[in-house]
Symmetry: C2
Subunit: 136 residues, 2 copies
DNA sequence: ATTGTTGTAATCGAAACGGTTACAATAATT
DNA sequence: AATTATTGTAACCGTTTCGATTACAACAAT
């Protein structure tokens, strides 16, 4: 299994907001037509980004605007905003047998390695800002 | 979404095989009782590990044995064997709009960054061998 | 008051997963 | 040769998660 496309949709959404800021009104319909996903999905995405302090969304009149500078938003901020992995990237089987030496130890020996792998991935996301992804 | 527990089950399975080698016969039932997952799941896992050249499984008489030394098997080998992410760790939305500058460019600007993040994670998995996870 | 948009609940079908049953094929043992 | 234990694999199930979609009240500008 993989990481939800909510993440790439959110990145695309923010890129569109920064790119068309001042040119077009950034409604969910407009963003939906750029991403190719349903407008309701875009609205949910915008709510996540808003909760993370990355955008403001105007109810009623419509339109999303950026809160921060593009150079101050990392891919990790977006990844966190849409909660792709709910804490742990790796699922772990539920009930290793505590009466078996291996079952008893598996979490102790494996968890730190999985954690490190996840952090390596997330650190890469932290090293990229939206400013580096600007289209034009 | 996260990475399937197939991966941790496979690691647990191999650890059990190395740990109990020569002591117990490593049947799917025995491994299932250590991992807490269904014996059929264990058999499927063993088939994946066998296809990757990590174990031999004896039909009929039963029992799995390691092919390589524990120091020669990395977490990445296991991760690859069970095919956790089918190539790409990150799902990407299907139909970005080619008539929009952002939709037209999103893959070009984002794909390399996602690839790098994935590789960082996988490189961590490559750096850990089963010998470092041995229980006793 | 009208209009366009957001915010959100509800429901849907598809896909993936692990669990489970069932059973033929296999190989050692008796 | 028959028995026994196990593998290999197909089939099906229920659960979960996903994105898509419909619907509509709340909202704010005109």
């Amino acid at each position: 299994m993989k990481i939800t496309s909510r993440f790439t949709v959110a990145v695309h959404t923010l890129l569109a907001i920064y790119t068309f800021q001042g040119e077009h009104k950034l409604t969910s319909d407009f963003i939906a037509s750029s991403t190719g996903v349903n407008p309701v999905i875009v609205r949910r995405t915008l709510q996540s980004l808003k909760a993370a302090g990355l955008v403001d969304v105007k109810a009623g009149t419509g339109g999303a605007v950026p809160v921060k500078k593009a150079s101050e938003v990392t891919l990790y901020d977006i990844y966190s905003a849409v909660d792709c992995v709910d804490g742990n990237l790796f699922n772990f089987h539920d009930s290793p047998n505590p009466d078996c030496p291996v079952g008893r130890s598996i979490h102790r020996v494996l968890d730190p390695r999985l954690q490190k792998a996840q952090e390596a991935m997330e650190n890469e996301l932290k090293s990229v800002t939206l400013a580096e992804l600007r289209i034009e």
